[in-house]
Symmetry: C2
Subunit: 206 residues, 2 copies
Amino acid sequence: MAGKVFFSVSMSLDGFIAPESPDELMGKQWMELQRWVFPQRFFRASLGLGGGGEEGRDNDILRETFERTGANVMGKRMFDAGEQAWPEDAPFHTPVFVVTHEKRDPWERPGGTTFHFVNDGIETALEQARDAAGERDVRIAGGGAAILQYPNAGLIDEFSIALSPVLFGSGVRLFEGVDASRVALEPVLSEPTPRVTHLTYTVRER
Amino acid sequence: MAGKVFFSVSMSLDGFIAPESPDELMGKQWMELQRWVFPQRFFRASLGLGGGGEEGRDNDILRETFERTGANVMGKRMFDAGEQAWPEDAPFHTPVFVVTHEKRDPWERPGGTTFHFVNDGIETALEQARDAAGERDVRIAGGGAAILQYPNAGLIDEFSIALSPVLFGSGVRLFEGVDASRVALEPVLSEPTPRVTHLTYTVRER
């Protein structure tokens, strides 16, 4: 059985998933948005920050999201920003399919992450990711603008949002340009923790 | 002890609380946004639809929100739209302070709703509402554009959102123009029901 196609992001209460400019990426708003992630044991271990960290539901959800993912898909902007920022042992540990016009040989990193550069669009990237993932799921990793192309094309099965108690006021909106006439949501799970509310929806065509 | 100042709205997952145009107010999106309300016993009884209806947490929350409210404040647009649409026995059953340039005598409706027309701004309207509410709370009732003036002016203590599993794509955004440099949120409660997730936040100045 083929896996699901999903995305999983942290979103501000007013609908933003990233600050306006990449210069602010490590800025205050982004830190507040992601604040629930940093103390988690799974996150600390994956960055090699040593032992320790929280082990509640927030941690379980991070680990489960990682473990279900057999391949990642990302846009060129996320790759370009990450190429500089990720540690050598990039944090995906799966094949990653980058939608880009750049022609480039696969780029293999230690720890099981290999970036493949796909030049003929989002559907081909997804097809290749499905093949690579086998029975596991495909995660649309980002960035902000790339994610929405998939639900708008009818290519997302479900998604999860960690809704953070912060207001951005400006930035990259997750649902900017969503085709609301096409995308209907069925709530699957709403699970509050002390830090965020984890929301999961199945996507249906209207 | 003085009551709190709060608002309570239904919001789509992408941050909208009303469709773009009033013509669509009874349209499909708005119906989906409010779908959790219609089957509730409290709602049915308040519209005189007879007995029956659901009695779970969604119903409790509607009733509690009504009971805590000693006075309402609303903008001119909400009043103008409602003046036509509300039943004679208007659904507030408290003094209502309408922020407007129109000079007009108080308008008393059967059932305890009296509309007072306040011509000198949101702070005066709130002051009068506080006096009328006594120890009970003041609800900023709407509409979409009026609500946000209060948190931006540092005049909201807390708010509640019933987050509905629907995407609007366009319309009136609750947080459009929020002063994010001023408004910080502290999560108080996140309570999922099968229909929506009820979120409550305390507002703090940054």
